[in-house]
C-alpha cells in the first residue's frame, strides 16, 4: 500500500514538479509556504486535479499514468480538509458512514462501523448530532473518522489542524499522532506549521515554488535547514558561505570562526539561544563578535526573539528581563557574540 508519485503540472504561475515515495505506515509531511504547490499536489494525488504529466501508483495500482487519470471516487483514499467540511445536511454518524454507503456497504454495517469509529475518535454518543452542533475540534475528529472508516490505502491530510485554536490544536494533534501510528496505509500531511511536521511525520519534504528543496527526517530538517524559509520556521539563522579551514567566509562578507575544519560551499547555522547580546564590547574568549542593530523583537515563550542586522543577519533569544534592562528597542546598537563550537556547519 505504498505511494509512488512523480507529478508535473502547471497552474497559473505555479510550475509543480514533485517526486515522492511514501512507504506503508509512513507519514510524509509536505512543508512549505503558501502558494508552494502543496495543496495542488495533494489534489492531484486525490484525483481531484488531473496532472499534466506524471505517474501516481498506490499499492501497485496505477492511479495516474500521464495519459489516463483514475477519477477520485475510484481511488481507495481518505482525505481531511482544513475546514472539516462535514456535510451539513447529514448527521455526524451519516457523515462518517457516507464513504461506506457509496462503496456499497449495507446501511446496518455502515452504521455499526461509523459508530465504532466515532468511539475511536472520542465522539461516542454524538453521532445523532448535526455538524453545526459540534465544536471545531470535534468536527475535525469526525472528519478524520470519515476519512479512515473505509480503511484507505492513502490518507491525505490538507492542513488538518490550521483552522483550530491553539489549545484544541494541541489535543487534536496528539490524537492524530495516535491514529496515524495505527494506520497501515501511507499518509501525506500538508502543513505550513513546522510543529505539525515535527510531531506527526516520519519524513519531511520541503516544497518551495513547486520544487522539492529538501527531504529528510524532521530532526535533520530542523537541525540542517537548506533554505531561509525552513531556517526561519525552525528559528535558525542560516548563513551561506565558503569553508576555509577553521572559518567560513560568508557570502555577505563577514567571517565566522568554527570548531571544525570545513571546505567548499557550506551553510553555517546558528541557533537563537546561542547568540549572546552585549551593550558594550565584551572582553573574553568569544571568537565571533559582530556589531549589530536590533530590527525587530517578538515575544517567544519566556524569551524575546530579536531580529538583528549588521555584519551578519542573526536571530537572538534573550530573557524578557535582559531585554528590558538592555533597552533592546528596535534600532538599538548591540554586540552579538557566538562561540565557535555553537556554529553548525554542513555542506550546501
Amino acid at each position: 500500500m505504498s505511494l509512488e508519485a512523480s507529478v508535473g503540472t502547471r497552474r497559473g504561475d505555479l510550475d509543480l514538479r514533485v517526486d515522492v515515495e511514501v512507504a506503508d505506515g509512513e507519514v510524509l509531511a509536505l512543508l512549505g509556504p503558501n502558494g508552494a504547490g502543496k495543496s495542488t499536489f495533494v489534489r492531484v494525488l486525490a484525483g481531484l486535479l488531473p496532472p499534466d504529466r506524471g505517474r501516481v501508483v498506490v499499492g501497485g495500482e496505477v492511479w495516474d499514468d500521464g495519459v489516463t487519470s483514475r477519477p477520485a471516487h475510484r481511488r481507495a483514499l481518505g482525505m481531511v480538509f482544513q475546514d472539516a467540511l462535514l456535510f451539513p445536511h447529514l448527521s455526524v454518524a451519516d457523515n462518517v458512514a457516507f464513504g461506506l454507503r457509496t462503496r456499497g456497504a449495507r446501511r446496518g454495517e455502515a452504521r455499526a462501523a461509523a459508530a465504532a469509529w466515532l468511539t475511536r475518535v472520542g465522539l461516542d454518543g454524538l453521532g445523532a448530532r448535526r455538524p453545526a452542533e459540534l465544536s471545531g475540534g470535534q468536527a475535525q475528529r469526525a472528519a478524520l473518522a470519515r476519512a479512515l472508516v473505509g480503511d484507505p490505502a492513502l490518507l491525505l491530510l490538507d492542513e488538518p489542524l490550521s483552522a483550530l485554536d491553539a489549545r484544541t490544536r494541541l489535543t487534536v494533534r496528539a490524537e492524530l499522532r495516535r491514529h496515524l501510528a495505527a494506520f497501515r496505509g501511507s499518509t501525506v500531511l500538508v502543513t505550513h506549521d513546522p510543529v505539525d511536521a515535527m510531531a506527526l511525520a516520519d519524513r519531511v519534504v520541503v516544497l518551495e515554488e513547486g520544487r522539492v528543496v529538501q527531504t529528510g527526517t524532521p530532526a535533520e530538517v530542523a537541525r540542517r535547514p537548506r533554505t531561509d524559509y525552513v531556517a526561519r520556521l525552525v528559528g535558525l539563522s542560516l548563513l551561506p558561505g565558503t569553508g576555509a579551514g577553521r572559518s567560513v567566509r560568508l557570502d555577505c562578507g563577514a567571517a565566522v570562526a568554527i570548531a571544525e575544519e570545513a571546505a567548499g560551499p557550506v551553510f553555517a547555522a546558528i541557533r537563537p539561544e546561542s547568540v549572546a547580546l552585549y551593550t558594550t564590547r565584551p572582553d573574553g574568549s568569544t571568537r565571533n563578535l559582530w556589531r549589530e542593530r536590533v530590527v525587530g523583537a517578538t515575544p517567544h515563550g519566556a524569551t524575546v526573539r530579536c531580529e538583528l542586522d549588521g555584519e551578519v543577519p542573526l536571530v537572538a533569544d534573550v530573557t524578557a528581563t535582559s531585554f528590558a534592562e538592555m533597552g533592546l528597542v528596535p534600532g538599538a546598537e548591540v554586540w552579538a557574540g557566538v562561540k565557535a563550537s555553537e556554529v553548525a556547519v554542513y555542506a550546501r
Binding site: 486525490a46 481531484l48 471516487h73 467540511l85 456535510f87 447529514l90 470519515r146 476519512a147 473505509g150 491525505l156
Partner: protein, 266 residues
C-alpha cells in the same frame, strides 16, 4: 440610545413609502370594491370552480415539468466548463423578457398542427397540442421555467463546491454526489425557485391564450376567466381576482417560513 446605522435616510424614506403604496393600494382597492355579499354565490358557479381547478392543476404540472428539466439545466449552467455557456444562459432567460404573447406565437409555430414539430406529432401519432390542457401546461412552463433555473443556478453557485470534492474522495461518483450532496445543499434554493415558478405559471395569460386558446374546462385558466368576465360582468371579475390573490398570498405565506426564509438567510 439611537442607532444611526438602522435609521432610514430621508431621501430614501419617501420613495420607499411611495413604492409600498404603489404596490399595495391596487390590491386594497380590489378588496374595497369586492361585492362580499355576492362572493358565496359567485364562487358556487361551476365555471369558477372549473377555472380554479384547471389553474391549480396546470400550474402544478408546469412546476413539476420545470423541476425535471430546469434543475439539470441549472446544474449545467452553474457547473459545466463548456464554452458557449453564457450564450446558453442568455437563450434560457429570453422568456423572462419576451412578451408572453410572442412566446405563445412561437410555441404555436413550432407545436401547432402546421408547425415543425407539431406536424410530425400529428402525422406520426395523431397528437395535436394547441387548444388542449397540455398546451396550457407547455405555455406556462415556457414562461415560468426561467424563474426556477435562475434561482437554482444562483443557489448552486453559492453552494460550497468543496463538498463535492469531499464526496468524490469518499467514493461518490458524479451522479451519487449530485443526488446525495449537491441536491440537499441547494434544496432551499430549489424550493424558492419552485414557488416563484408556480406563482408565475398560475398568473400566466398571454402565452396561454395565444397557444392554448380560451375554452372553458380545458384551457380557460383563472387569469383568462378574469379577463373575459371583466367585459361581461365586472363584479364576477373582481371576485375571481380576489380568489386568485388569496391563493397566491396563501401559497407565499405557507412556504415563506418553511423554505423562502431559509433561502434568504443562506
Amino acid at each position: 440610545m439611537t442607532r444611526p446605522a438602522t435609521r432610514v435616510p430621508g431621501p430614501l424614506l419617501v420613495p420607499a413609502a411611495l413604492g409600498v403604496a404603489f404596490l399595495v393600494l391596487p390590491l386594497l382597492g380590489l378588496l374595497v370594491r369586492t361585492p362580499w355579499s355576492q362572493l358565496a354565490g359567485q364562487l358556487a358557479e361551476p365555471a369558477v370552480g372549473q377555472a380554479l381547478r384547471l389553474s391549480l392543476v396546470s400550474a402544478t404540472l408546469a412546476t413539476a415539468l420545470s423541476l425535471v428539466l430546469g434543475v439539470p439545466l441549472a446544474w449545467v449552467l452553474a457547473r459545466s466548463r463548456a464554452r458557449g455557456r453564457s450564450v446558453l444562459r442568455a437563450l434560457v432567460t429570453v422568456p423572462l423578457v419576451l412578451p408572453p404573447v410572442v412566446g405563445g406565437v412561437a410555441l404555436f409555430l413550432v407545436l401547432g398542427r402546421q408547425g415543425i414539430v407539431g406536424s410530425w406529432l400529428d402525422d406520426a401519432f395523431g397528437i395535436t397540442i394547441p387548444f388542449t390542457t397540455a398546451a396550457v401546461v407547455i405555455a406556462e412552463t415556457f414562461v415560468a421555467m426561467p424563474f426556477l433555473v435562475i434561482s437554482v443556478e444562483g443557489a448552486l453557485r453559492a453552494a460550497d463546491s468543496r463538498f463535492e470534492d469531499v464526496a468524490a474522495t469518499l467514493g461518490a461518483g458524479r451522479w451519487t454526489t449530485f443526488r446525495r450532496v449537491t441536491l440537499p445543499l441547494v434544496a432551499p434554493g430549489i424550493a424558492a425557485g419552485a414557488v416563484l415558478c408556480w406563482a408565475r405559471a398560475l398568473g400566466e395569460f398571454g402565452a396561454t391564450i395565444t397557444f392554448a386558446g380560451n375554452f372553458p374546462g380545458t384551457t380557460q385558466t383563472m387569469p383568462l376567466a378574469v379577463y373575459l368576465a371583466l367585459q361581461r360582468d365586472p363584479d364576477a371579475a373582481i371576485v375571481l381576482s380576489v380568489v386568485l390573490l388569496a391563493v397566491s398570498l396563501a401559497t407565499l405565506l405557507l412556504l415563506r417560513d418553511r423554505w423562502l426564509g431559509r433561502a434568504g438567510a443562506a
